[in-house]
Symmetry: C2
């Protein structure tokens, strides 16, 4: 059989996403070769199989997922790509697992800038390296112009649950200390103030960061931690309410103890938003037996991401399922879940 | 401390997705309770932790991801939800793994009908039950009206690699038989013909199905299978090209052997599309030592999804990296990757 081989067709150097980049044909392969593989490549991804085959150390496996639709995709302190890596790393780590492998599913808008996509993917790769995880499998879909906003990214993550650690939102005990790793509201207010039409004196920067290093230090110091959670959407208020509800206990916190940067507080006041309701992307709430609280704080303080860690309150037997704050005026008020939507597209 | 408890606020019965359904507050919880949990609940999801903790039998773990953006979301033969479950199940099974656990990440458009979302989630739950997998963790984001199209769903999946099975797209050997489990092009043409403005005499139905049962039967019969792949985007043409390229072999196929339903062939002709380029969602390409081909076909024929399985060609030493078809006219032509985008939003 003789076949005339045509020269390999040179793929035109598109500057923007084309519908065909999502069609599974030549332009799909071109996008993989030009943008995804150069940044993300590793021994698993390079095989380009329909699935990655992983060796996991023996133990229970933790599995989590989040889709990121943040707008704008570049903001002070981070990008949608870094957020997508760090958010999923944090959900694994907060569950007492060692984050190992991530998937990355992209939805791209036709016409989206390829140089901007390159920046997003580069920042993902950097975040993954920093967090010590590998992106081992991916997917790329393209939708028509106007059918999504630039780029949405889903990351799902696999980790190995640490032996001897059994954190759970159902473990809170009256008397436990409630610890917060730092200032609240930075991420949400960085997004808000970076959107058009809003400008503040100072540039508020997102706290977007991977917390698995700090969490490992905390668990090494105190393996008996009762509960951990990263207070993302809904802010610290939502996290405390979820914990109180799941454990059927009350939580009493002290407004004066809650660290809020002055510029974040100012922005929140201007917008009429409670900083306790604002999303964070590099913060941790830890609940631990009171006698171990100092050790947890010590471990946090020696980490880059826990320098401002502080005890903000206690678990109480009263008002089960509710969070009550002693205000700076000495009154008490219920810290409720945010009811409406103040901050769309924050993560 | 005395606290006045207000009655729990009744959440208004929205008929459409609100921005606040994605804010992590009360309406988010309401959506979980009203739609996601009733359909999807299981012992893992019910815990509502930031991550699911899974016991996996010892062995290598397979991990895959896909985002589904198909339009329309309800089509003859399936829904976006069934597609999202079956597609990810098939990517795991085609890698020789037993699919176990799925994640589900939703992006919802503000204003999307909640009864339609309920139908989508119900169909996902049904597909998961049928395939024997559990959806163990999820995420829900909402974007403003016009910033996505109704609903996009990412599913990532975890499976356990079967002992003694080592399928890989790099394993093809000259002389191997190339087997296809049934008719090509049904899914893509079902989507096309269900879109506005296109109508054909008969209603073409998607082949959307979970293949893990059939694949288990095939691997039980012939554990030494060289390669398996589900020919989704880019169709059978893209899959064969990927296999030929990865193994540096040629593939020779016989047009007369390739099963295409007459109505699908008619639709393809009308639209000027090669059925080999059209996506399938319930088909499998298997490459196996020629002496085992009959056993594979037998196993497929006794399965609901492989009744029309047929050998379509062979792996050859000639023209490495290329797929050549002997046409019904006796000529030979290159079966290339689709270059452009003929069928947007097909999966
Ligand atoms: N954005 C991405 N980043 C990293 N890897 C990717 C990306 N998109 C695709 N891949 C990798 O490319 C290969 C082919 O992916 P593709 O999505 O085409 O396969 P598939 O899921 O089997 O097909 P389909 O998506 O049509 O169901 C896989 O190995 C996948 O991990
Ligand atoms: N659509 C869904 N289907 C099934 N479970 C879901 C869905 N959406 C969320 N969940 C579950 O609800 C719980 C809370 O999810 P949520 O996304 O609010 O947590 P998170 O990922 O920690 O927060 P964020 O998304 O703000 O980072 C988790 O247990 C998650 O698995
Ligand atoms: Mg999260
Ligand atoms: Mg979380
Ligand atoms: Mg894919
Ligand atoms: Mg797939
Ligand atoms: Mg596949
Ligand atoms: Mg989430």
């Amino acid at each position: 059989m003789t076949i005339e081989l045509s020269c390999p067709v040179p793929i035109s150097n598109h500057e923007t996403v084309q519908m065909a980049h999502g069609a599974g044909g030549r332009l799909s392969q071109d996008l993989m070769r030009r943008i995804f593989m150069p940044h993300l490549h590793n021994i698993f991804l390079d095989l380009l199989d329909d699935q990655a085959k992983l060796e996991l150390p023996h133990g229970r496996v933790a599995f989590t997922t989040d889709t990121y639709v943040v707008s704008p995709i570049f903001f002070p302190g981070g990008t949608i790509g870094e957020l997508a890596v760090n958010g999923t790393v944090n959900d694994l780590a907060a569950g007492g697992a060692i984050p190992k492998y991530l998937s990355a599913g992209f939805v791209l808008e036709e016409g989206f800038s390829l140089p901007e996509l390159d920046r997003v993917v580069a920042s993902m790769a950097g975040a993954a390296r920093k967090a010590g995880v590998q992106i081992v499998t991916g997917d790329t879909k393209v939708v028509e112009k106007g059918q999504c906003d630039k780029v949405f990214i889903n990351t799902s993550g696999i980790g190995v649950v640490r032996e001897g650690v059994a954190v759970s939102c159902r473990n809170l005990q009256p008397g436990d200390a409630v610890i917060l790793s730092g200032n609240v509201g930075d991420h949400g207010m960085a997004i808000m103030t970076s959107r058009e039409g809003l400008s503040f004196q100072s540039r508020i920067s997102s706290d977007c960061a991977a917390l698995n290093g700090m969490i490992a230090d905390v668990l090494d110091a105190v393996p008996s931690i009762h509960a951990m959670r990263d207070p993302t959407r809904g802010g610290v208020a939502a996290t405390l309410n979820e914990l109180a509800l799941a454990s059927s206990v009350g939580i009493a916190i002290d407004e004066a103890a809650i660290p809020v940067r002055p510029d974040v507080r100012g922005a929140c006041e201007l917008l009429g938003i409670d900083p306790m309701h604002v999303a964070n992307e590099g913060k941790l709430v830890v609940v631990v037996q009171a006698s171990e609280a100092e050790k947890v704080l010590e471990a946090m303080h020696s980490s880059e991401h826990g320098r401002d860690a502080v005890r903000i309150g206690s678990v109480v037997r009263d008002h089960p399922g509710m969070v009550i704050m002693r205000t700076v005026f000495g009154t008490r008020r219920i810290v409720d879940l945010p009811l409406g939507e103040q901050l769309p597209r924050i993560c």
